[in-house]
């Protein structure tokens, strides 16, 4: 493929977006579907026909980019299928204009080889988040939009700063991404690395820059939530992190450990918040944050198996989390609420949606043989491999991170048990009959659920061998990934199925079924006797230390945005005091500024 052909990935969606402005909504939907379908085919094609990077100028793609590109298109197509019905009519036009545009921006991030272009597209993709948030509902959506914009936009500043530092270190002025590099030992090494890391954390939603994700999930249209924070932003953020780990920096051990620790804290901290949420959307939002932790751990560790696991987990996460968000979307469109106390017992009315959500939940909790387990298993395996070679102090550090990660998946399970129980199982709080979601919706969730199963069962044969190992090979960190003698999901599932069948036969042979109402010690099964699941984990919340933490978290002490806004008010107060209105003061400030500029120039130049 010619490198210039890659430009279609940008031009086509952008053009579709423009045309959608004018077309009637139905036609716009059709056009978008066709365009995305075409791009999906092209992205599959591009996997095997990559242009040589050396031939590329402004536009180019290596295997990593192509890999991410593929999933961008899979996700955006399936989520689009879901969005064909059910988007609120007043935002429909805006939605279908913005949707392809966002795809274009993301493609731009993945395909641009020029640093400035990368930064611009990165910023634009963040901007589209802002517009999606503005389409939201509820009383606080405009606040959410502002918060999202400030956190994402603010982190862009760090991105630019990081890239400037990187570029400044090059011997020759060069704006090509592939040329950027920094050795450890450089005085600006940490500054540059952590500036970029902040951008990654903000984009992907890692601790401590995660706070926009749950808010965004709460108020924005649910399709956009599945589309951006849970899938595309994860892909972009981890894509940048992978680049950083492999290309931009020669990563030191301590930095790896810090990333792993941030990952471990993100995993446990966010999911601890998730299990307490009384709202399904916020629960999913927090769990999205938590899953970023695994990717950070995997990709950040630099170990080949864990790195592959991290990439794999990134893909898996986008698939099952989109599934879950969309399932919740179907539920919400049928019942009109995402509060746990209003929901319950709707699996009877929406069996297909329930099945998809069940598969998604099991996958995200890492129950074998679904996809989530395999990638988590790879990450743990890789981390343990890494531990072998470390000194004792680091070993304990690493083992504790590992412990937090494994425990995090138990917490994730707890979180989704609550989700399943409160939304689908339990008892109906007396609402009328609920109907199954429209075909396009369960088709979309079904495709994702299918991915969860296939990627779990055929993990080694399909995604790893076909997609991820080539990426690793190209990035030059390939090790022995033959995966022989490892966990074999297919065999395990086979054995499982045999025993299950035996049990099933015994049950079928002996059963005599009668239907009855709920047994409540003789009381009639009235709907007032139900456990809504809102307070499922109240006892955990009431534990002495945790209670203080939760109270603090609810007062938003962990929210960088709230802290920032408080800080801003504080500093603006100081600034106001620094404006006495006297000429000599301003002269003094100007002098001070000049001095600073001088110092910086000298430092960089030297």
């Amino acid at each position: 493929m010619e490198p210039s052909a890659l430009i279609y990935f940008l031009v086509i969606p952008a053009a579709v977006s423009l045309i959608n402005l004018l077309l009637p909504v139905r036609a716009a939907k059709a056009l978008t579907v066709i365009a995305l379908l075409y791009l999906l085919v092209r992205s599959i094609h591009s996997l095997s026909h990559l242009p040589l990077l050396s031939e590329c100028g402004l536009w180019g793609a290596d295997r990593l980019a192509a890999f991410v590109l593929l999933f961008v298109h899979i996700l955006s197509l399936v989520i689009l299928v879901f969005s064909l019905k059910g988007v609120r009519s007043e935002i429909q036009r805006a939605f279908f204009v913005l949707y392809p545009l966002t795809v274009a921006f993301c493609n731009g991030v993945l395909l641009s080889q020029h640093t400035i272009a990368f930064i611009i597209f990165w910023g634009l993709s963040g901007l589209s988040l802002y517009f999606f948030a503005l389409m939201g509902q509820g009383d606080s959506y405009s606040q959410t939009a502002k918060k999202t914009f400030i956190i994402i936009g603010g982190s862009d500043v760090f991105l630019i700063f990081g890239f400037i530092l990187l570029a400044a270190r090059l011997p020759v002025k060069e704006w090509n991404l592939s040329a950027l590099q920094m050795q450890s030992g450089d005085p600006l090494y940490y500054l540059a690395f952590f500036s970029l890391l902040i951008a990654v954390l903000a984009k992907a939603g890692g601790f401590p820059l995660h706070s926009w994700v749950p808010d965004f999930s709460k108020t924005s249209p649910i399709e956009s939530t599945a589309f951006l924070p849970s899938s595309l932003d994860k892909l972009l953020g981890i894509f940048l992190l992978a680049r950083m780990m492999t290309a931009f920096f020669a990563v030191e051990l301590i930095v790896k450990m810090i990333i792993i620790s941030i990952g471990a804290i993100t995993v446990v901290g966010a999911v601890m918040m998730a299990i307490m949420q009384p709202n399904a959307r916020r629960l999913l939002g927090y769990s999205t944050v938590s899953q970023v932790g695994y990717m950070l751990m995997g990709v950040g560790s630099g170990n080949p198996i864990a790195f592959a696991g991290g990439l794999f987990h990134m893909v898996n996460h986008t698939l099952y989390k989109s599934n879950l968000f969309l399932s919740l979307g179907s539920v919400e469109k049928q019942t009109g609420s995402s509060e746990f106390r209003d929901l319950g017992g709707i699996a009877k009315g929406m069996p297909l949606t329930f099945l998809m959500a069940l598969i998604g939940s099991l996958a995200i909790s890492g129950i074998p043989p679904f996809s989530g387990f395999y990638s988590k298993w790879m990450i743990y395996q890789g981390l343990l491999e890494q531990t072998k070679t470390l000194p004792a102090g680091y070993q304990i550090w690493m083992l504790i991170c590992l412990l937090l990660a494994i425990f995090g998946s138990a917490l994730t399970l707890a979180c989704f048990v609550k989700f399943l129980h409160a939304v689908f199982l339990g008892r109906n709080p007396g609402r009328e009959k609920i109907h199954e979601a429209p075909a396009n919706q369960w088709l979309a969730t079904g495709i994702f659920a299918l991915f969860c199963i296939v990627f779990g069962l055929f993990a080694a044969a399909l995604p790893l061998k076909r997609l991820i190992i080539p990426v690793l090979a190209e990035l030059g960190i390939a090790a022995d990934l033959s995966l022989i003698g490892y966990y074999d999901p297919l065999l395990l599932t086979g054995l499982f199925a045999i025993v299950f069948l035996i049990g099933w036969v015994v049950y079928r042979a002996t059963r005599v079924v009668r239907y009855d109402e709920i047994y409540l010690g003789g009381m009639a099964a009235e709907t007032r006797f139900r456990v809504s699941g809102v307070d499922f984990y109240r006892e955990i919340r009431q534990m002495p230390l945790l209670q203080t933490i939760y109270t603090a978290a609810e007062k938003k002490y962990c929210d960088i945005y709230e802290l920032g806004s408080k800080g801003t008010f504080f500093f603006s107060g100081i600034l106001q005091k620094l404006h006495p209105g006297l000429l000599q003061w301003y002269l003094f400030y100007i002098l001070l500024g000049l001095l600073l500029l001088l110092l910086i120039t000298i430092n960089i130049g030297g």
Partner: protein
Amino acid sequence: MGWYNKRLAKSIWVFHISGSPCNNCDIEILDLLTPRYDLERMGIKLVGSIRHADVLLVTGIFNQKVAPKIAHIYKQAPKPIFVVAIGTCPTSGCCFKDSYNITAKREDVIPIDLYIPGCPPKPESMIEGVAKLVEVLNG
């Protein structure tokens, strides 16, 4: 079903319903499980949920408030289910038989398979009653 009944006779799980008794029979039923009589050696176990029960032990005169609940709970039990009425109260109504709050016929509320009279019946006679039930099940 003869084959199955023999299995059932070896593993009787009982659920205890009190339909307005004076409490004494209930205490004596619990007494059966305790060290002196230990019905577990005959495979008899007290269960907490009606869904697990094979035998319902009922005591008392079934006042009008509790009678519908007893009928309801009988329907919720998995078949085959046997009902053993313990004490004089379900048998004859004891000294309460002229009360304004009693159900006239206990059999209309719940079909009773076996009566063990006594006020309260001695544990030994309850064991004998159980043995009779086992005998019937064994055919």
